[in-house]
């Protein structure tokens, strides 16, 4: 199968990494795709300017869930200042498959949630 739904994507969908909540979160946000009901809750614990812990929760399609899961793996341990550099294109590359126009919002949903979280954190400072 060609694939949007290669093994890796289905794996991340069925066994999402860093799925859950954090007790002592520094920042927590919620982002939705109104048109399809997808929702992502993004939580981060930030220590010394770095992402110490990250979790996500949500209701979503395989693409947005896999994208969120992969994004948590990517940002863990990174400097907060570097997170802003991750772009929509980076998300598509992260998934490693061709995404058609109709699904771009699924891929960028977790990125939007994370960007919102970073913004909230930076405003707190």
């Amino acid at each position: 199968m060609d694939d949007l739904y290669r093994e890796q994507i289905v794996d991340h969908y069925k066994n999402p990494r860093n799925f859950g909540e954090l007790d002592d979160a520094t920042v927590k946000v919620r982002e939705t795709n109104a048109s399809c009901g997808d929702m992502v809750e993004w939580v981060m614990k930030i220590d010394g300017g770095k992402v110490k812990e990250v979790r996500f929760k949500g209701l979503g399609c395989a693409i947005s869930t896999a994208a969120a899961s992969m994004l948590t793996e990517k940002v863990k341990g990174k400097r907060i200042g570097d997170l802003g550099k991750i772009s929509d294109e980076d998300m598509v590359e992260l998934l490693g498959v061709k995404i058609n126009l109709g699904r771009i919002k699924c891929v960028t949903l977790p990125l939007k949630a994370m960007q919102k979280a970073v913004e909230e954190y930076e405003q707190k400072d």
Binding site: D2, V10, A34, C36, D38, L59, A62, I63, R103, C106
Partner: protein, 422 residues
């Protein structure tokens, strides 16, 4: 109805998608167009194009005649008078026209507007705008287990913190306008418009009843003389017509009382720097250069549908729906279907979910097999909140669909199970 003859009339049905024959099951989103409609539009631009009602030259006369003849054909299709048919861009524009022209001028604080939780955003947001601006109150009719309007009983439901109730619960107070759809674009349920009209008229004979006919007019016989409502709005592109064509039908007396919606050329009878006099109905509501080609295309669509026969089309869709419901049951516990359990209460729309798989993912895999369905919230966000589901898959049929196409969809659904290992 000779279905292979019908299918031959639709060029796009010969397309391949991802190497597979196109199986187009997204007719509730838009319908495909027969050659006859495409040729009518082409011929208009090739032979008769000119601006209407503005010139004395031959082409102008031809174009004007074609435009007004189209209006007559379109009116005949719904049993209406020609001067009660306003050409609009789509159903949404028609509903907004009523909201802006009638609603903003006739409603005030203390009045009640009633709509339902299952409405498409286009038949909900215009009324929200009207009550915000006028101080009137908006009430919502709840939905029953079969996806239809809840007519009786005491419902204590809240959606987004707003109390919604049965029709008998909300038809209370100074009700001035009721806006409902004739058929739900999500559940597919045919709505009890007759019962609604009866109940509303008992409350007050002068309540204005607005019906969104987007999903009924293309699929069954419509006669506004029998419906007993005051406004009916629907889109041409869902009934084999071009995008950008649509109709607002309204009772002449109401249309005459309403101020214009958009202002500009052709909707006036006289303009000075000091004053203006509006044109007669329906031209009062058609400002600027109209979509003449769209009207011509829509009239050609009316011709086509009339030739095939609306009764035949309706019967065909019931057969397909019955078949689809049967085949989906065969997938046993894996598929959950929403809406009426009987095909003749839902004509042509089958909304479902594959358990454990998001609607988008289902639609994507179906697309790989050439099957086009819709996934998401179908512009009925509050309904999804009310039903407690995040999204759904919608297969919607029309006159050119086949049982074999439903088989292809069901086979593709089995592939979904494989991919997600369920």
């Amino acid at each position: 109805m000779n279905i292979s003859k019908v299918r031959n009339d639709f060029p796009i049905l010969k397309r391949k998608v991802n190497g597979k024959p196109l199986v187009y099951l997204d007719n509730a989103a838009t319908s495909q167009k027969p050659r006859q409609v495409l040729e009518a539009i082409k011929e208009y631009y090739e032979k008769h194009n000119a601006n209407v009602a503005r010139g004395v030259h031959t082409l102008a006369n031809e174009a004007t005649q074609m435009y007004e003849e189209s209006r007559g054909k379109v009116a005949g299709f719904i049993g209406a008078r020609k001067d009660e048919v306003v050409f609009v861009r789509n159903a949404s524009e028609g509903l907004n026209l009523v909201a802006f022209s009638w609603g903003l001028n006739k409603l005030k604080k203390g009045d009640v507007v009633v709509t339902s939780v299952l409405e498409h955003h286009s038949n909900m947001l215009p009324w929200r705008m009207v009550v915000e601006k006028t101080g009137a109150e908006l009430k919502y009719i709840d939905v029953d287990d079969e996806g239809g309007l809840l007519l009786k009983g005491k419902s204590k439901t809240k959606v987004s913190g707003v109390k919604i109730g049965s029709m008998e619960q909300v038809l209370v107070g100074k009700v001035k306008l009721v806006a409902v759809s004739a058929k739900s674009n999500m559940t597919g349920a045919l709505q009890p418009i007759e019962a609604v009209v009866k109940a509303v008229r008992r409350v007050n004979r002068r309540v204005v009843i607005v019906v969104d006919g987007s999903h009924s007019v293309p699929h069954m016989i419509t006669d506004v003389k029998k419906l007993g409502v005051d406004f009916l709005s629907y889109s041409g592109h869902k009934m084999l017509g071009p995008m950008g064509s649509g109709v607002l039908w309204g009772r002449k007396k109401l249309l005459e009382e309403m101020p214009p919606f958009l202002r500009g050329g052709d909707m006036i009878s006289e303009v000075t720097l000091e004053s203006e006099e509006w044109n007669r109905v329906p031209h009062k509501f058609e400002a600027g250069t109209p979509n003449v080609a769209g009207a011509v295309g829509l009239a050609a669509a009316v011709d086509y549908l009339t030739r095939v026969g609306m009764k035949e089309i309706y019967k065909h869709e019931i057969k397909l729906t019955n078949y689809a419901l049967k085949k989906l049951k065969e997938l046993k516990g894996d598929v959950e279907v929403y809406g009426p359990s009987e095909a003749d209460k839902r004509a042509g729309v089958v909304t479902f979910n594959v358990k454990g798989v998001h609607a988008h993912d289902v639609a994507q895999i179906l697309d790989r097999e050439g099957v086009a369905v819709r996934s998401g919230q179908h512009c009925t966000g509050p309904l999804f909140e009310r039903l407690g589901i995040p999204a759904s898959v919608r297969a919607s049929f029309y006159l050119y669909n086949l049982k074999e196409e439903i088989d292809v969809m069901v086979e593709a659904l089995k592939k979904v199970k494989e991919v997600f290992k369920i």
